[in-house]
Amino acid sequence: MSRLAQSNRAAPVAKRDARTAGVGGAQDGELLHNNLERMNIDQQGDSTDNRPKSEACPVCNSTKYLNSNLRFLVNPECYHKVCESCVDRIFSNGPATCPIQGCSRTLRKHRFREQTFEDIKVEREVDIRKRVQAVFNRREDDFEGLRDYNDYLNDVEDITFNLINNIDLEDTNRRFEAYQKANQTIIAENERLAREEKMGFAANQKAERLLARERRDAARREEEDERREIEEGRRDVLKRLAAGGDAEKVTKEGQQVQLKKRLNKQAAAQRQQELQNAAGTGNGTAASTMLKGLKARPKKAEPEAPIDPFGGLRFTHKYFEMQDDYRWEGIQDTMKDVRHMAGGYDVRDFTQRSLVAAFSGLGVFAGEEGGEMEKVMVDEKALGTARADLGLKDSGMAEAPR
């Protein structure tokens, strides 16, 4: 009977469980290793073997038999089972030690909850797994390949297993904490993504349903239109016949009109179909990126670099520095000439070009350049930039590294 009652209650408990695990995750994690250490002791003791035989509260000895409303609660600190009224009684005035003999954990009331699984071992394992999962929430997309991901999963399982079975506890906990500290932002980000994914999926399904309904409506409307048109055509033919037209001609014309209309409609339908397909594929990619989720992240990391409007291209002059003003009458005259100036002629362009021309080729050695030319020929892809480099070098300009 008690079992029945428990399984009936399983659903709401699970919900509450998820909430506590989700919201209080951080605190849980922080306490985790302490708890686990303590559980070490608890495990060999009472909690497991006194479970099946007694449905009585170990503190007040009240039983299900006498009190059908009796509920048992456990605290993830030590997983000792205590009845609800005892919890209220003992812990209402703030934290107190566990009332079970030989257990000296300090427990708080808000951490008590109902057991989801009958076997306390399973309960504990699920708790541990939840916590580990909240921290080790990497996704497959974070890894270079399946191999790396599998290795990671293996590591995580090792840690989980150690925690559950109290193997190497200190070392494992150190690893766990170190990882958590080092990856705080990524953990938070992955958590957010998982949440979004969940929501996105629901939204997608809703949109799909809506679309399907629209499609059905459109089809129905179209059918009606068609029927009405056929009817109209027939009436038209009749009218013309009544007005005294050549019977054969009128019917033929009527048929042609029908045919044309149908063809038009087919074309329209096809267009519609294409449009829908396009929209469908658009949705599809959106959904798939959402599911893959993390694929976008390495790319998002890239644009961290600010936009360089020059695209990494800078022209610096190795051999000369441009002056604002040159005392050469050729230039001075031009600068005074209103027709040059008003037309937007820029003397600096000319001086710069002349200087570049004057110094072009300096520091370029025929042998080296020949070698570079060959290199360029071999590597088709680098052809453009390399040749540009050559050209720049040739004219005494140098390109900043991209």
């Binding site: 790319k299 644009p303 600010p306 936009i307 409007p309 020059f310 695209g311 291209l313 022209f315 050729g330 230039i331 005259d333 031009t334 000439d337 209103v338 027709r339 040059h340 100036m341 008003a342 037309g343 937007g344 002629y345 820029d346 003397v347 362009d349 000319f350 070009r353 570049v356 088709e380 052809l383 453009g384 930039t385 040749r387 540009a388 050209g391 004219s395």
Partner: protein, 411 residues
């Protein structure tokens, strides 16, 4: 018209050899023998011809992508690696070739594309000629069409200010690179901005480009497609600089935002264009453009429209944001000395402000663009693709642009 347009870019004598003038570097060429009897004198035959056929054999020509008055465009791939696609632009030989040799446009295009290598400038892989002295330019394969197609397809293509910023940034980088290397493009417009497979913008069509001129060396004012032509060229300035390209870029910028040509003068003549510029930007006067009245083509305006204020611009182009409008105003300033330089444009805070320019893979694109590439490449510069009928009749817009005048007497 003091200076004949012929003064404009007399490019170096054709570097790609003609049969009678063997390439100097080959040294051995004795000239006129045909390559067939090279067995007797393998080297002496014509080294240049050998090199030429060597180059030609590297490519396997595929289907024709487009064909125009001026050139045919073919798809091709490397013989060695069929995955590497290129486009071969075969320049048609007209009657003028007999007398003048290769046309200036192709020469200019080859000359500048051989020297300018930048990720946002169309790449010229090689040049070779075929039997009947046809020039073939092996160009980068750009399958995604051009920017004009994206702008005009208001039905199915929509883009964001971030996309505009990404496109403009690529264009401005290309222009900066050209200007820093002393080259004026002189034909910037959306249909000369081709889109690569990865979404990158490539500046194409250097048929009207020229090196920046020395002082007192006049340049033609009859250049740049009329809708994108800056006011100083309408006033027949013969000495100008990179500012002309910046004006065109400003027009492209505005066109990207509003999805309509900024100065769509109709009918397309200079008078209407000047009128439109006065209307939309303001009337050029001695106050806002010192010295403008000394320009040859300046006509004293009968009525003066005051320079438009920032708020006027904002009202039209609000979607690009305050900074974007600021940049637009500075690119479309009447006085070319006040207008930003290519470097100044790149230094503008617009680029680094939010939103960040879209990544290449996020830019909207239009499929099935190989034919488009053929369409764009086959044109002469200065010509808009919208005037098909006019073209057929031989009075295309290109006729008004300098390069055509070179051969005007021949036709």
């Amino acid at each position: 018209m003091a200076a004949s347009p012929a003064l404009d870019v007399p490019p170096d004598p054709p570097f790609k050899r003609r049969k009678t003038t063997p390439e100097p570097t080959s040294g051995t060429g004795t000239g006129t023998d045909s390559p067939d009897d090279s067995a007797s004198a393998p080297l002496a035959a014509d080294l240049a011809d050998q090199l030429d056929s060597q180059e030609r054999k590297k490519y396997v020509k595929g289907k024709k992508l487009g064909s125009g008055q001026y050139a045919d465009v073919f798809e091709a791939h490397l013989l060695a690696d069929p995955k590497k696609l290129v486009a071969i632009k075969k320049i048609k030989v007209g009657p003028e070739v007999q007398e003048f040799g290769i046309s200036y446009d192709s020469l200019r295009e080859i000359r500048f594309l051989q020297e300018l290598h930048h990720p946002n400038i169309i790449k010229l892989h090689a040049v070779f000629s075929t039997k009947n002295q046809n020039l073939n330019l092996v160009l980068e394969h750009l399958p995604q069409g051009d920017l004009l197609k994206l702008i005009q397809d208001t039905q199915s293509i929509s883009y964001t200010p971030a996309d505009i910023k990404a496109w403009m940034l690529m264009l401005q980088r290309a222009i900066y690179f050209c200007h820093a290397n002393g080259v004026l493009h002189r034909d910037i417009k959306p249909n000369n901005l081709l889109i690569a497979a990865d979404g990158e913008i490539k500046l194409a069509d250097f048929g009207l480009a020229r090196p920046m001129a020395d002082p007192y060396q006049p340049m033609t004012y009859n250049t740049i497609t009329i809708w994108y032509r800056p006011p100083e060229l309408f006033f027949q300035a013969q000495h100008y600089g990179g500012a002309v390209d910046i004006w065109s870029c400003g027009c492209v910028f505005a066109e990207l935002i509003s999805r309509d040509v900024l100065f769509r003068a109709w009918p397309e003549n200079e008078i209407n264009m000047v009128k439109l510029i006065c209307e939309k930007v303001g009337t050029p006067t001695e106050e806002n453009w010192p010295g403008v009245s000394k320009l040859k083509g300046y006509v004293t305006p009968s009525e003066i429209v005051p320079i438009k204020t920032r708020d006027d611009w904002l009202a039209v182009f609000r979607s690009i944001g305050e900074l974007g409008v600021d940049l637009l105003i500075k690119m479309l300033t009447l006085d070319p000395r006040v207008r930003l330089t290519a470097e100044g444009v790149l230094r503008h805070p617009f680029w680094t402000a939010a939103p960040r320019p879209s990544r290449l893979e996020d830019l909207p694109r239009k499929g099935g663009g190989v034919e488009v590439m053929g369409d764009s490449l086959k044109q002469r510069g200065g010509e808009l693709p919208r005037n098909g009928e006019a073209n057929a009749a031989g009075v295309g817009r290109g006729d008004k642009v300098a390069r055509k005048i070179d051969f005007g007497a021949m036709k």
